[in-house]
Amino acid sequence: MFWNLTGTRKRQSVVCRFPNGKLVLYCKGADNVIYERLADGNYDIKKTSREHLEQFGSAGLRTLCLAYRDLSMDQYKSWNEKFVQAKSSLRDRDKKLDEVAELIEKDLILIGCTAIEDKLQEGVPACIETLSAAGIKIWVLTGDKMETAINIAYACSLVNNDTKQFIISSETDTIREAEDRGDPVEIARVIKESVKQSLRSYLEEARRSLSNTPERKLAFIIDGRCLMYALDPALRVNLLGLSLICHSVVCCRVSPLQKAQVTSLVRKGARKITLSIGDGANDVSMIQAAHVGIGISGQEGMQAVMASDFAIAQFRYLTDLLLVHGRWSYLRLCKVITYFFYKNLTFTLTQFWFTFQTGFSGQRFYDDWFQSLYNVIFTALPVIMVGLFDKDVSASLSKKYPQLYQEGIRNTFFKWKVIAVWGFFAFYQSIVFYYFTAAASQHGHGSSGKILGQWDVSTMAFTCVVVTVNLRLLMSCNSITRWHYFSVAGSIAAWFLFIFIYSAIMTSFDRQENVYFVIYVLMSTFFFYLTLILVPVIALFGDFLYLSLQRWLFPYDYQVVQEMHKDDPHEYSMIRLPERSHLSPEEARSYAISMLPRENSKHTGFAFDSPGYESFFASQQGVCVPHKPWDVARRASMKQQRQQPQRTGRS
């Protein structure tokens, strides 16, 4: 029988019966939890295994330790009773199982350790670099060892040799000494004290570094055990302060619960928008704790996907999701919302000016049906088209200039200033609509000299409002598709169609036939056509002037990018998500050579490079794997650096 590896337990055990009746308990798990449960003695094996583990870790492999224990029949039987009891208990089953497992998983004898290479997905380092350029801070929360985690960080360019690293680890000598003494209370106290000191001193150092040498990047690395104490309410503030100052944060050996706690810390403490992305069941709580949770569907199953807000297939699609679609969505939302307020404000204020001249009696300016259908038919469809299709720059340019993402971070399109400008123009336009139509309608019209009534004036004003508001939308679009033309023309046509029909009928349901035949009367006068040309032009005049001046004197970043690329051909078939490398061998070679590390780094990030690298184990075994030509060149330049990890491993 066996019982399972969980995130919190970090180990898995199985009890076997040999054919000769011998009972053995085999246990595998993370190295620290196995080492805690080893019997005394066998110091050499432990030391050698530790060295191997460090070596594997520096090479970026994921490690496990294996141990065993012989069991006698009585031991097993008595333990099994407790185990069965725990398994069938109704309350706190997990806790009881843990306790029971503790009883038997002790005094283990170490067998050795294993290492697995776990490749990073294709395109991950490039993706992370792009997102950092976009102003997104990236934290790595992993259950792996510190060496592995640091290696991952190097591979992703989160950390490089120039980066100042602040490391809080639970593997320091003081803590080891306390552990040897064995008093859990004292261990906790020592760890907490050391974490507190480290946090305080690192925070000061970070602040100093930031003010003296701002271009030097800072990285903060902490492991799960210290994190447990650092998340204490007393130390949390310093932790958050230090994390926010540093450019990247790596937390290693974190449990799923701690991942969620760290995410909540940033979300609530720093009040920033957080996004977490993960692919396994251990990432579910983190995904749910962040503002936006993204699950990568893939080899580790679908739990992350099911708990997430968005699911993508590969990590590198995150750039598309954020920089392209996220940015466009922000832009579209701002446009739709501000436009909606503008068009309703214009429409309503035009009526408002009328109230001053009705003796404040509350007489409506527009007919009831005009008002009801304004937002439903006459101005609804174009704004939907904008919300679906508006793009300030194309997808490839969005990825080429990740700094454009800052517009969203800084909320440039929904500031009070932006809304005030829209509000001002709504006010100005409403004055134009009301006073120009009213003033122009005072006198007789046409050679018959007949006079227009109130409903004629209001229909005229309403026509101007509908036409202007729809044209204003076209003015504020960055990319106009034929659907925009259809919807704008369609809305204006719908208005005319509606008024032609509505004013031509008399039904027994209406108490008053206010707008009977109004549009035909209007269209028989020159006043109608002259006003229809004049008033929208005057109304849009202010907006046009403002937009021209703004683009020339204070251009937004996306406007500059638009101008830079205005002569690019349309790239419709080029916006496909890259599924696999379509590079020819020559391109692949030149790409690989360009990817060669330029600095003399202790960390090769070897295990996490893009596919095509040479297997660590194959070379250890002396197995000859057929190489690509570019790979040879690559290895040649890497040769000197390979000596160093082995040197540190042996010290």
Partner: protein, 340 residues
Amino acid sequence: MSVSGSESAASANKPKYSKFTQQELPACKPLLTPGIVIGAFSLIGIIFVPIGLASLSASQEIVELIDRYDEECVTASDKIGFIQDSKANKACTRKITVPKPMKGPIHVYYQLENFYQNHRRYVQSRSDQQLRDKDYKDPKAVAKACDPEATTGDGSLIVPCGLIAWSLFNDTYAFSVNKKSVTVNKKDIAWASDKNSKFGSNVFPVNFQKGGLIGGGNLNDKLPLSEQEDLIVWMRTAALPTFRKLYGRIETDIMASDEITVVIQNNYNTYSFGGTKAVVLSTASWIGGKNNFIGVAYVAVGGICLLLAMGFVVLYVVKPRALGDPAYLSWNKEAAEYSH
């Protein structure tokens, strides 16, 4: 997992490509470049100025004479009492000198000020169904629509009901040019749609102005509503508190320096609420009555646009910015500031 297996699985999951769903519709990407801005302003200027000048010239040719008479036509100190006295002689003679030749037909309007035909309770006080349909006699609906002028004291329905009809304007004007009287043609002063459809040709006034308070003019009981053009014109409520309505037309021409004598029956009571009355004589052209506003507006807007076009040329010369200059990107600007 084999590579080829994943490939076919991936293509099986891929959604069907369409330009609409993948947001790859061909689009026009307008940029407000200097050329477009200057071009747009110039175009508007070039189109609007001639239209404005044409409208203005048409409007300038129109001769309009306005004569306010309500103050001077009542000499008694108690104006309201005078007006409400049904036996007093309310005739009033006014003289207008014509400055420029007026080509017929000359339109005669009465102009009222401070009269809120657009007041909410006033506007809703009518029943259009009653006006066009003689069989419409639903007393409750009529009462609701036309309150307070729906029924007489004994409960019989008034046709046409409502405050608008009740307050019908009833001053009359009799014109003579150089002592020779001219007739005022009172036909075709209302819009055809009103006459033909909104006011029934078989609906006759019933119990009109028979109540205690008389609000305005009376109606000929023998004429159907569709021929009561004064009523029709009056019931097309005006948009603003200062308005004019068509009274009739003088079909003959009037020469310059002719003297027009108007004999006004000053019946209508605007004195209770501080309103004013005036008689207006105006020629008409394709643009309608004298309306400088449209002409002035067009010329002004056209002129401003041309000025702005020139202004923008100056702006682009004085403050040039190369289109698409990366130095204007905010991150480059920050880096430039930073390095200083």
